[in-house]
Chain length 183, copies 2
């Protein structure tokens, strides 16, 4: 069984070269030249920062939505997917105080997060890593990871713009974006 924990190490080594790093909202993280994606708990490693996340159960997707995702989503590490984007995100206390149905209403009924994301499959592979419940005072709540071919970068930008304009994103109080190239 594959590891549920993944650590993203920012520093001077790793498969992924940072093409662009910028802070969307909130505190920045240290600029780095490369990112390594390492399964398992954080082992000692030369790095500027390490961001840890854990894959978890679905929180909002219904059975029908999960089936559609499973049918359409591509694997990670496709040879043609030489572009990746790492987006660490934190949501504010108001978000976490909402009940399950209220968060679901915002995520899907009002922000169309799941249905819009699905419409970009199979071009854009995505993996969500949860951080909030890894421990106290985590720097981010989620680490979202996307992979696509260079020709699909425009589609990815469109999806990102859609999500950032959504009601759900009004709850995001920290967000950093790293554009990566596999070389």
């Amino acid at each position: 069984m594959s590891s549920r924990i993944t650590t993203f190490f920012g520093g001077s080594s790793g498969l992924w070269r940072v093409e662009k790093q910028h802070t969307v909202i909130g505190a920045p993280i240290e600029p780095v030249a490369r990112v390594a994606v390492v399964p398992g708990g954080a082992s000692p490693r030369e790095c500027v920062w390490g961001l840890r996340g854990v894959t978890s159960n679905t929180r909002y997707a219904s059975g029908a939505e999960v089936r559609t995702l499973q049918e359409r989503q591509p694997a990670l590490d496709r040879p043609e997917a030489t572009r990746a984007v790492l987006i660490p995100i934190r949501k504010n206390a108001g978000w976490w105080a909402l009940a399950q149905d209220q968060r679901h209403e915002i995520v899907e009924a009002r922000s169309r997060h799941i249905s819009k994301g699905t419409s970009y499959l199979p071009a854009i592979a995505r993996k969500l890593h949860h951080c909030r419940d890894l421990g106290e005072d985590q720097p981010f709540d989620f680490l979202t990871w996307f992979e696509f071919a260079p020709a699909d970068e425009g589609a990815f930008d469109e999806l990102l713009h859609f999500l950032r304009s959504s009601e759900e994103w009004r709850f995001v109080d920290r967000e950093v974006e790293l554009r990566l190239v596999r070389d």
Copy 2:
């Protein structure tokens, strides 16, 4: 702000004396004489075992259910609540593979977990600690903590019997029960 992490230390010290400890299903944990409930991450401490959990956002309760809970639920540490029960629980892989709506359907529509629990308020205080996303291969998924006055132990037993007979509990593959007395 209070700590989201709590560690339950089993050993020879702590506020709570173990009156009875038994394994409901799955592997047991070491028998202990006392339990200490310590806010924050696990600090080094003489103990036989330490079980860590984190309070998290609600996973199934609706806005209306959360309001009812907030109105009716008692605080922990009531002077009269000299009985406590710690129930560490793990659910099987089949449970975690279900989509959000499927789990919600089982928890509430078919097992009445939330509405039945609410009907025992304000007698029985409850706090749920999540473990599954604290890291890899946690021994349990949840640590549930209950506090009540001695006179309410019969009501607690009734609630516990109801939940263990539910469809939701068919997914429980490890469960231990510790009955505790504050002295």
